[in-house]
Amino acid sequence: METIAIVDDDPYIVEVFCLTFERAGYSVLGFTDPVEALEAIPTKRVSLLILDLMMSPITGLQFLDERRKDRALSEIPVLILSAWDLSPEERKEYADDIAGIIRKPVMPRTLVEMAGVFLKKE
């Protein structure tokens, strides 16, 4: 069974997507603290990472910076799920780190479909 990790500082969003992906037949790891996620995810077998941008104490982009340093983590594809879009400079800078960008709010069904596309690609 594929494992999907969700990193968002909003606990409701983490909970609702955990439920959604579990129903779709995935194993889900939810994190409301990005720092905790950085430590934990490399130890698990995670196939896809869904990442928010506006978070504290570190932002989604800072999370991506840290991800580059960890070999195991850097192999996991990242879908950005954010209320904000990235600037062209940021898109360019993180092009290799990001598999896709999705704006909030997204219909859970749509998100599951997109995740399915990425996982098949892998």
Binding site: I13, M54, T59, A83, W84, D85, P88, K104, T110
Partner: protein, 552 residues
């Protein structure tokens, strides 16, 4: 050797005379026997003397021939005659001979008579020449020589008296009119004084000028030399002098003076014209400098100090003001002083009341046009060395823009610039240029502040939108867990809210376009909050891809 012509019709006598004469050392140029021949010979050989027998052969008598010779050749004639006929002697006397010899005469007698004739003739000629010279002199004398007795009675007036006055010598001497009466009434006082002195002071000599009125009533200028003539004992003998008509000279001098005056006037006029042209050029040049410096200030100045310094530099280059004080009102009251040496001095603290402002600033506040002050603005005390080489006056003008007083500008003038009308006009123009620049600087500052505020508000607004999307995502997520009708309605309503938020977002992106334009083309840099968490520098069109995905 003197030459003599002998006219004698008796050959023997002629020969005797010739020999005798040659014995005395005279040369005999010839002997004639008739009057006609005598005249011809006299003309040809021009002897110094003619010895003439009164009775001659031929038509012409000796007397007639002698007359002819004297008249035509001025040669003295001595008559020879054998008779002492009273009639003949009378006739001979009438023509004035130089002598006559009665035949028979002895040699001695003839010699003496001849020598006397020579002497007389020489003397006569000298006298005649002298007389002629004197006559010529007097005839051509442009002046009058005169003499007065010591009692001032006229003795004579010789020369061009009538030519000068129109009166004869007799008329003047008889006092009808007297010379004094001819003297112009205005000059009579000084004339009398001169004559009085000449009459009383021994040896007095003076030359003076005055006017007379001639017979025709014409005014003539006279130059008079007046002398008291004394004898060897220093006793005054008489008064003499000369009078010259110098009307022509005076007129010429007057014309010359007039010409000089006209030339002087022309030179002065030309100088004035040149000065005026110079002044105009000087003012125009400075006006140009002021305008270009103000334009430069509009482009480059970032602070009001920059503006002042920029203008000062150009003003100094164009020989302008020595110092400028710029007082600006607004958030902070400040007086900035810039001297032509480029230094900034004389900062003035914020005043409590208008009354405590320096007078040059205070007076300008109440006036629409520039003010000229007699005294130097007291702020200049703060600027070392400024009070040297400047006028004690100051020019001051309020800086008014759209009815609002922005400040006051004052200028200290160098000595060569007088605060006259064109200077004041120029200063007012400068004040207007400074006003424009200050206005511009402040408008930019205000605009920047306003844009900044708008930008911050928009950023906050965008952040709020973002914050709305998170709970919306939660609601949509939870509702999607159930597949019933109510959940569908919740999702539908949530997506409506999302659409509203999107619309608001588009408004924000549009304003971001404005900001982008301002930053790129107007050099206005706007600070945005939360740069590290928000992609604030986003190009307006580039985020559409992401939003489209979210809109599904």
């Amino acid at each position: 050797m003197r030459s003599i012509l002998v006219v004698e019709d008796e050959q023997l006598v002629a020969e005797d005379i010739r020999l005798t004469l040659e014995g005395y050392g005279y040369r005999v140029v010839g002997t004639a026997t008739t009057g006609e021949v005598a005249v011809r010979l006299a003309g040809e050989s021009r002897p110094d003397l003619v010895l003439m027998d009164i009775y001659l052969a031929g038509e012409m008598t000796g007397i007639e021939a002698a007359e002819e010779i004297r008249r035509r050749f001025d040669i003295p004639v001595i008559f020879l005659t054998a008779f002492s006929d009273e009639d003949i002697i009378r006739k001979v006397r009438e023509i004035g001979p130089y002598g006559y010899l009665l035949k028979p005469f002895n040699e001695q007698e003839m010699y003496i008579t001849i020598e006397i004739a020579f002497y007389r003739h020489t003397m006569d000629r000298a006298l005649r020449e002298s007389e002629q010279r004197y006559r010529l002199f007097v005839e051509h004398f442009q002046g009058v020589a005169f003499r007065l007795s010591m009692d001032l009675a006229p003795v004579f007036y010789h020369g061009s008296l009538s030519r000068i006055t129109g009166y004869t010598e007799d008329e003047i001497i008889s006092g009808n009119p007297s010379w004094r009466m001819l003297v112009h009434p205005d000059d009579r006082g000084s004339y009398d004084e001169q004559v009085e002195r000449a009459g009383t002071v021994p040896g007095y000599t003076n030359e003076f000028q005055y006017r007379i009125i001639d017979r025709n009533g014409t005014i003539r200028w006279i130059e008079e030399l007046l002398q008291n003539v004394v004898d060897s004992m220093d006793e005054p003998q008489f008064i003499q002098g000369s009078l010259f008509d110098i009307t022509g000279r005076v007129a010429a001098e007057e014309r010359l003076r007039d010409l000089n005056r006209r030339l002087d006037g022309l030179v002065k006029q030309r100088t004035l014209d040149l000065e005026r042209t110079n002044r105009e050029l000087f003012l125009k040049n400075r006006a140009l400098q002021i305008r270009s410096s103000a334009t430069g200030a509009l482009v480059f100045a970032e602070t009001e100090d920059d503006l002042l310094r920029g203008i000062m530099r150009n003003l100094e280059a164009s020989g302008g003001y020595r110092a400028l004080w710029l007082a600006t009102f607004g958030d902070d009251f400040q007086v900035r002083t810039v001297t032509s040496f480029g230094e900034i001095c004389g900062l003035f603290g914020t005043p409590d009341t208008v009354a405590s402002l320096p007078p040059c600033i205070r007076k300008a506040i109440y006036r629409d046009s520039a003010v000229v002050m007699e005294e130097l603005c007291p702020i200049s005390d703060e600027c070392p060395g400024l009070s040297e080489g400047i006028r004690p006056g100051t020019l001051a003008a309020g800086l008014c823009s759209r009815g609002k007083l922005l400040g006051v500008v004052c200028a200290a003038l160098p000595p060569h610039i007088a605060p006259d009308e064109p200077e004041i006009t120029l200063f007012e123009e400068m004040a207007r240029e400074i006003t424009l620049t200050i206005d511009h600087l402040r408008a930019v500052k205000r605009e920047k502040r306003a844009l900044d505020r708008i930008s911050r508000t928009l950023e906050q607004f965008a952040t709020l939108n973002d914050h709305i999307r998170n709970p919306l995502q939660g609601i949509v997520g939870y509702a999607s867990l159930e597949d019933d009708e109510r959940s569908k309605k919740i999702i539908s309503l949530s997506m409506q809210i999302n659409e509203i938020v999107n619309r608001l977002d588009r408004g924000y992106l549009e304003s971001k376009k404005v900001r982008f334009y301002l930053e790129r083309h107007e050099g206005v840099t706007l600070a945005g909050p939360g740069r590290e968490t928000q992609p604030g520098d986003d190009e307006p069109d580039s985020s559409s891809g992401g939003r489209e995905k979210g809109g599904d």
